[in-house]
Assembly symmetry: D2
Homo-oligomer: 201 residues x 4
């Protein structure tokens, strides 16, 4: 069975507004398709994801449906813009909601997010990528995801100059190269873990 | 004229649920009253603060009213719980909305948040206070706030043991002492800046 | 051939002073031996690791010998105390020196640290673990290491109370459990990557 | 009596090697002189600052002399390059050594670093400024420094493109403007605190 990816785009802007974090997520999914990995983008802010740390906060909370998409995937991509040097509030909301997964276990008493691989993607007109990748890796790994070698990609403009990733005439070669590396390693590792699950206690 | 404080409590839980971040904010406001500083608490999640980075995102966005409370205050307290080691998504939302203030200037062409003092308060059953204080200071200072000496207070429980700040039988002496220090210095500095505004360019 | 681990202990205190970050590193190595993984501890501050970002800074620089130990290992453990909420200067020095490895490639033109797994261990009387784990994962992953699911362990005391990990009468059960999980997953993943290297471009 | 500033430059390279973090520190000191603030640069790595958290680690430890320069100043500038997205190991060493000052008090039983103002300056060919400023503000404020409004300046190049601050033909206008703002506010606040010390308990 082919591998599946899902990319959660954490822009502050709802669809159909143009989004740099969606652009880089789409580039990753496009590259993943070359490894026969199917994928889907979720613009998180389009959905009513409630504040809280339960799996279902009720009252039409959209998280249960979004959560299922992560459970169905082998590769989870979290893509976020940079605001005041931090990940967006939408991205942090996703991490908070994933936190409930910490106590959910499968039949072998393992966290339900084991054997899945996570990638981080960060864009912004100002700096913040390294720090946001750090915060994402720590939170996602804690929840159960495995981080493949060089498992991120990013773009930040020169300090104080403005300009967005989706305003660039062309994706810089160095970013293309980071995209390819992250995707290649994620596909490899997800396949390995699909065939060789982490052992139970 | 007496100084004014406002505390934005960034719990994920709406009122009237009990909240550790509200408790520590209330303790700070109580201490401020001894310095003749009046104050008010805003439980941010009770209000519909929209995602975005404009002063008013429209459609009933609650931010303009909340923003006015900050503009009317001399001391701004941001109090947040710790989720996955980070500030809450509600706190990050506040920072994103404050970001628009960067380009708003007063009659002397100075950022409108100048001459105001900010304090950070962090609670959580797991660690994260130092990092969250760091992220808060950097963002709030960038927007124009001044940070008084030892301008934070916090409580995190022992690693992996659970337990919340508002479950403690009594506030630990060390936290009381940090509260007092932060408040004393904030009141002093806010008074100084009230009488001696930052110069225009 | 059996797997090998090396733990870099980044205490500020030279041997033979007692060290909490050495204690937790030793606990991880002990657990790894149950998986037939041999290991070694390096107290980094005992060695003259020069500032700089070249593989060899000359003049008796100890890094080339230390670096070889990492190259010879399948599992790299970085263990650090918490100072002012951050990893120690000794830990950051290790990351700076590893940075040179970014441009070193093997015969297949892959970064030389690929197919190796990294674990983070953090201790401190004050909070900081989640942030330090974040900074370590981001830096180590960037250099080429893979992060296994729940690939860290840590202990921080209650806020402002003092007390060190190696002063505890017994290791808390939750920490023991985190140690076991990190080790079990690291051994599994290192074995997988030993047999199934990341593909070349 | 005129105000005094001291800038600790935390480059990994000893003098007389060219240093971007020294360049931006010198720019700040030059601007401060217009406010009649005298200043001095210390290239920290030129001195044998030992690992540890005591005021004097003995054996020729250079910290006591460096520490005195901070005690003699009204404005402390910490300038650091960006390595793997973090402040340099030299900068973190300075923070560790300042940590001992936490328990040193003056005749009024106040922390000895009260009434002093701190600025942060960050440069790097890759992103990291916002995060490093965050980590610096939190640590320096905890030790007793006050952070003036918009109390930092920085430059990071575009992601993955290389190039250093001291390679630029000219300092970008936006950075010049940030330099001026930080300096103007620091001079104002240091003068205020010189005349109006934080109250004792």
């Amino acid at each position: 069975m082919a591998l599946r990816a899902v990319a959660f785009v954490c822009s502050l802007k709802p669809s159909p507004a143009s989004s740099s974090s969606e652009l880089i997520a789409r580039q990753l999914l496009d590259e993943l398709s070359a490894y026969d990995v199917g994928g889907e983008i979720v613009r998180v802010v389009d959905h009513d994801v409630r504040p809280g740390v339960e799996n279902d906060m009720g009252n039409g909370d959209a998280w249960p449906r979004l959560r299922q998409k992560i459970l169905d995937a082998d590769i989870f991509i979290l893509s976020t813009p940079t605001w005041v040097g931090h990940m967006s509030s939408v991205a942090q909301r996703v991490l908070e909601r994933l936190d409930a997964a910490l106590s959910d276990t499968d039949d072998a008493d393992r966290p339900i997010l084991f054997d899945k691989v996570a990638l981080a993607a960060v864009v912004g007109n100002e700096d913040g990528a390294h720090k946001i990748v750090a915060d994402l890796f720590q939170a996602l790994n804690d929840t159960g995801f495995t981080i493949p070698a060089q498992g991120c990609t990013y773009w930040n403009g020169e300090a104080m100059q403005g300009g967005d990733y989706n305003d660039l005439d062309d994706t810089p070669d160095a970013v293309k190269s980071a995209n390819s590396m992250a995707v290649r390693n994620a596909a490899h590792l997800a396949q390995l873990l699909r065939s060789n699950a982490y052992p139970a206690k």
